[in-house]
Amino acid sequence: MTAPIFEAKQVSFSYEAIPALRDLSLSMEAGRSLALVGANGSGKSTLLRLLDALCFPSSGSISFSGNPLTPERLRADGYDLWFRRRVALLFQNPDVQLFNPTVFDEVAFGPLQLGWASTEVIARVNSMLETMVISHLRDRAPYRLSAGEKKRVALASVIVLDPEVLLLDEPTSMLDPRSQSQLIDLVQNWKGTSKTVITSTHQLEIVEDIAERVVVLEQGSVAADGTPSEILSNGELLLRANLVHAHRHKHGDMVHSHPHLHSHARHEH
């Protein structure tokens, strides 16, 4: 059995008095793709920030490759640099992530902070811009881009680091269907077989495309854990977790309702 790359044990976290995660335990294997699904406010983004060591549990523990993720550990012996080289997070709001003057500078920011040589940075950034089909945006200011272009640039700025683990927070939100599909393809092509990708989303229609395992979060706790087909076929669970809505309609004189799920490939009842 593969050793867990992340292990969260009884993790709780609150924003002042508002609890975001409650007693959450989760183990993730290296080289797999996992989707965290849940309604707005279920704790997905908070969990990703904890996994990226941007904040720390108020109780419980999280470890990465067997090393505890604590503020003290991160400060010691350049561990933070070691960790940042291996784990990258794509923020939900690209405006948060795009703070550099130009697209080129944006993609180069991470490699420079992690101490890469200038020549390597230039070569890798140029190559990444080509891979993501954004070379034409090289000298543009990120705030002038469309939502889809911003997401691509933000994704390029983390993938360029070639991390072992990629954390994606709602990567396809605010995107039109075509851009959603392109973004998913870009991530899948990059992932190959060796990378770990953890994606938070409330868009069930992309889950089968992005994950081998699905964890449903409900009010800051794990409500279910299984394969995409197991989770997506559990209408009662999805309805309870606010991931689908009850669809009411008439058959003749009879009114009935059932969970309603839209998908890229199909529209099923």
């Binding site: 933070d80 948060v96 992530q97 003057p101 002038r144």
Partner: protein, 273 residues
Amino acid sequence: MRRHDTIAATLLSLTHAFGTALVSEQVARRPGLLQAFDPRVRVIGLFALVLAVILSHRISVIVALFVVAVLLAVLSQVNLKSLAIRVWLMVLLFTSVIALPSVFLTPGDPIVTFPAGALHITAQGVTTAVLLITRVETAVTLTTLLVLTTPWMQILKALRAFRIPQEVVMMLAMTHRYIFLLAETAAQMFESRQSRTVGVIAHSAARHMTTRTGGVLLSKSVELSNDVFLAMQSRGFRGDAKTLSEFRMRSLDYIGLLSFLLVGVVAVWVGRA
């Protein structure tokens, strides 16, 4: 315009400012003389000319520098009509108001005496006013050329090359980056409020609402700055941002720099008091 439309006017001005910023970026991308120089040469060269304008005391020299600025504008594909409206006319209006009293108040040889005999226009007064107006017109034209032909971020990078502390440059860059986002948010908040407002709101209530909107915007900006910091941290930022200097001086840049400095030194020498 009604008084309570002041906020709308402010937001319209902001939108206009975005448009202006966009035009500047378009000019900066055109193939032109100034655009061909390294941004550091543009910053040093044009500031050297501004310094020469300030230090020159002869109108003829300042006018010559103004002609140089116009030539630079033409060779850099800057629209002269736009420059005339946005810069020359505006500067003329504002500077004239400031310069007008000196026409009457500067002691010297009267060239026009008004009937009452108490008010004179003096030759020295006119010279002072013309000197002030030509000096401001030329200095602002040169500064505008720098802004139009060099993207703001390249100016900042050039400042970094002059050993301006990284923190200062980064703060300016971030301000420029997020001021647009926050202004856009403010405009959307205002539109959202307008869409839910019926009839005329009393001035006091409008002021109250504006204050509250300002408070919400401040909270949003604090939250945004926290998130931006986390995003930086996530990509390895540890308090000292490392940047890439892509600037490279070529022979054309050295020729340009020497030319700017030479024109500046000659102007100061010829235009000395």
